[in-house]
Symmetry: C2
Subunit: 200 residues, 2 copies
DNA sequence: CCTTCAGGTTAACGACCGCTAACCTCCCTG
DNA sequence: CAGGGAGGTTAGCGGTCGTTAACCTGAAGG
């Protein structure tokens, strides 16, 4: 156990830079030499840490999907234990997703953009994790708005994801105004969108 | 002038298929041979119609940006002429954007995904058109909700674009339930999101 | 009927890219 | 102090991709 977050390992450095580059120029638009250069080694040195370029993307996408899902599960079980109201449960999910979207912008971008570049097995896994995550949201939404049909709730959830994942477009590089304000605005809009979806 | 929409020209066929392929697999992930094959000719035959692969993407992105902007301008001037209420103006913008997002899914996907693959001049042009489009929305939103600051309104507009542009994720290929229902749901959610953004 | 040209074809070139091979250091450990 | 593995390096191979060159063809027009 570390006193701090432990100096980032080489693998983590590589993953972080690869995520940034993939998000900026697309998976096929980035060469392994560029990824290497971004961490100070060059080209084939990456193969000491990853089996290939595909493996980096796979690890990024599986990682983000798992992280989103386990975070949501934790929040739901905590909420259930505390016996809070349905509104607070949904609020907690929204808050978690916003934190993620604001803190890991490149990953959020990759998440719904480069999924098809994965090998079949990895793509299936990621899709399954994503589906579970969506279903957690659908359940929380329908507990708060029982009038919503399941397909409508699912559509609404996907649309709110689109809203929350728009953060990469929000900030021209350099001018992120204040994180807290942006988070609160997004939160209000997400709740408003769900409420509007539920009105007849 | 034609009795119907005139049989699509070769150029239009090519653009349509290229848009679909680019949206599916990314600009760098599609080869010119595949685009050619999709319209029944093969590979280099495309160069009778376009200067290169880049030119196809440029024409697609400029076309969509112009189309969105002119559509919005037309709707705004019509609304002004009719002297309708601010709510109806925003509704008209929302409706236009939804129509576009539902009818030209691949283009909506490309629009915010492959912009950086353009030559400098084209990218500047597209960005300028997009900015104008956003500003039309910001104006309409602030006329309806004068309490919103301009940065807040702009963020809200970008977020609602994210919501509306989520349509490609909504329909697993083949099962689009009913267009009208989806459009109405999206419309309600967009309005709800704006209203929530405006509440303190 | 001959010409021309739009719209194709195939062959091939040059560049680039992912990846492997072969080799070179340190540093840690017995 | 040997030695061995972790983590680099450069050279280069094989394949792919965008693009060009050279050639073909069928239909329209004078």
């Amino acid at each position: 156990m570390a006193t701090r977050t432990d100096a980032p390992t080489r693998r983590e450095q590589i993953l972080k830079e690869a995520a940034r580059l993939f998000a900026e120029r697309g998976f096929h638009g980035v060469g392994v030499d560029e990824i290497g250069a971004a961490v100070g080694i060059s080209g084939p040195g990456l193969y000491r840490h990853f089996a290939g370029k595909d493996a980096m993307l796979a690890e990024l996408l599986v990682g983000i999907s798992e992280s989103l899902l386990t975070g949501a599960k934790r929040r739901l079980s905590e909420a259930e234990a505390a016996g809070v109201a349905p509104e607070a449960v949904l609020d907690s999910l929204i808050e978690g997703h916003i934190d993620f979207a604001l803190d890991d912008r490149p990953l959020i971008t990759l998440h719904d953009r480069e999924l098809d570049r994965l090998r079949d097995a990895d793509r299936k896994l990621v899709r399954q994790l994503q589906r579970q995550y969506v279903e957690l949201w659908v359940g929380a939404v329908r507990r708060l708005y029982p009038g919503l049909t399941e397909p409508a709730a699912r559509s609404a959830v996907h649309s709110v994801f689109g809203l929350l994942n728009s953060t990469p477009h929000l900030t021209r590089p350099g001018s992120l105004p204040d994180r807290a304000g942006t988070a609160e605005l997004l939160h209000r809009m997400a709740r408003g969108a769900f409420a509007a979806a539920a009105e007849s």
